[in-house]
Symmetry: D2
């Protein structure tokens, strides 16, 4: 898993996962269907949220992430066979929400193929409403990103 360090596009992403492209990820246009990078974004996001303590909160208190919005820029087509490196980093932390950036690097092309931004809200699934980001989660994020979010 250290190979992804070669991708300068992913240097600033504390979380990078690697996923092989599956043949069935492609659609009739002979490239990876647009829903697949959204799944890859999610996979990297969940790893990030586990590292900053949100997944544990979900298990114990039913307080967890909910996706408020998302963007995706498709810059290069991805085709099978290939493997992608998917980065996640947090660039903003508000009262109840945080902004996460995603980048997907195609290994065979050696370049960023998809970029995106997610807004994740910390959500009380019992009460069905947003809650303030817990201090422990906030400080974990600051440690992961090596900066503070005022």
């Amino acid at each position: 898993m250290s190979k992804q360090q070669n991708y300068s596009e992913l240097t600033d992403f504390p979380v990078v996962i690697q996923i092989p492209v599956q043949w069935g990820d492609q659609d009739l246009f002979e490239h990876v269907n647009n829903t697949i990078p959204i799944r890859w974004f999610e996979s990297a996001r969940l790893v990030y949220l586990e590292r900053c303590g949100l997944s544990e909160l979900m298990a114990t208190q039913r307080v967890g992430p909910i996706l408020a919005s998302m963007t995706a820029d498709f810059r290069r087509q991805i085709r099978y066979p290939d493997s992608v490196h998917v980065g996640a980093r947090i660039t903003g932390v508000g009262h109840t929400s945080m902004t996460m950036e995603h980048a997907i690097v195609s290994q065979s092309q050696g370049a960023t193929a998809v970029q995106g931004v997610s807004v994740v809200v910390v959500f009380d699934y019992e009460a069905q409403r947003p809650v303030p980001i817990p201090d422990g989660v906030r400080s974990s994020i600051e440690k992961l990103e090596n900066r503070s979010f005022p």
Copy 2:
């Protein structure tokens, strides 16, 4: 299929399709996973692109749509069982690209659950580059939208 006319949110969408929510569309957070509305956007988009002649061009000349970017705003959680009404309309037409708006109305909630915007480029899949929007496609869009795009 005339029932969707009841949804005032979808009045201005020339294309509206209806899709049942499947149980397996849901994830561990007990609502429809974020990749599913992206698939529904696509389904409505393809119906629109067929109506304005782009699908036929793809079959005959390998000139077809390619998704350049996408946004999605998740306003309400969708749960099984439910049925969604998915609208697509074009709000901007450029030289080689067009802007399409999507709205997903949850039937059980009677309200818009997800909104989004796609930028679709007309693409020559043989030459692998954007091409100008054909006049026939442009005029079909103007007819569908009942307006002109200068």
Copy 3:
């Protein structure tokens, strides 16, 4: 939803659901990918299991269905655009498991495209082991199938 009664292949299925084929359900071979009918089987199965009381048991006691095995026979290719009618019926009831048959009729072809059989075990998700089929579930199945399972 009464139109499916026209399909003689589905006459003996107490549960029949209708689902539109989505463009993105297709793969590079220009027909619906083999994972999609498996999702449709599941959707009809869950409707059936709700009708016979298993879904409620899951919500209240964490006793629910688990899939032990599955077969699928792909008899006809399905293509977009189309709509499928998906039937589920139970043909065998054992101590802790039941045998369910599936059939998928393509509306445009007017013929069965996929058939399959699932073995569903009643499972205590807390204890992580099979449990005997509750009497209430068994009698609901017999009522739905209009026969007894000795």
Copy 4:
């Protein structure tokens, strides 16, 4: 990719691929949804079919594989996080079809979680009918399996 050699269950499979479990592969029952192993079967199947020359035939002559039937036995639940090793081998070759066995080993459990059998027909997509397995494909399979199929 040599680590999978440790799995004795996969010793006799000439094709073994490794795929990480994604969080979103799970459903409400908190394990990997039954459609996901079917996708993994397919991914290993396509690698196998590429190795025995069928993928190239598809590209040049529109002669390729079509899935006639499939079985799956779900022996253990798979959960995120995990990684699976997916094997494919051919155990029978007929006139126009071949029988392929699949096994999915969960890395975290160190045991086979899903097994299955696919029947793959060699199909002329232009003429829409089965064709005899080309001699070159047959001999490639025999080489991969280190045996003959009379």
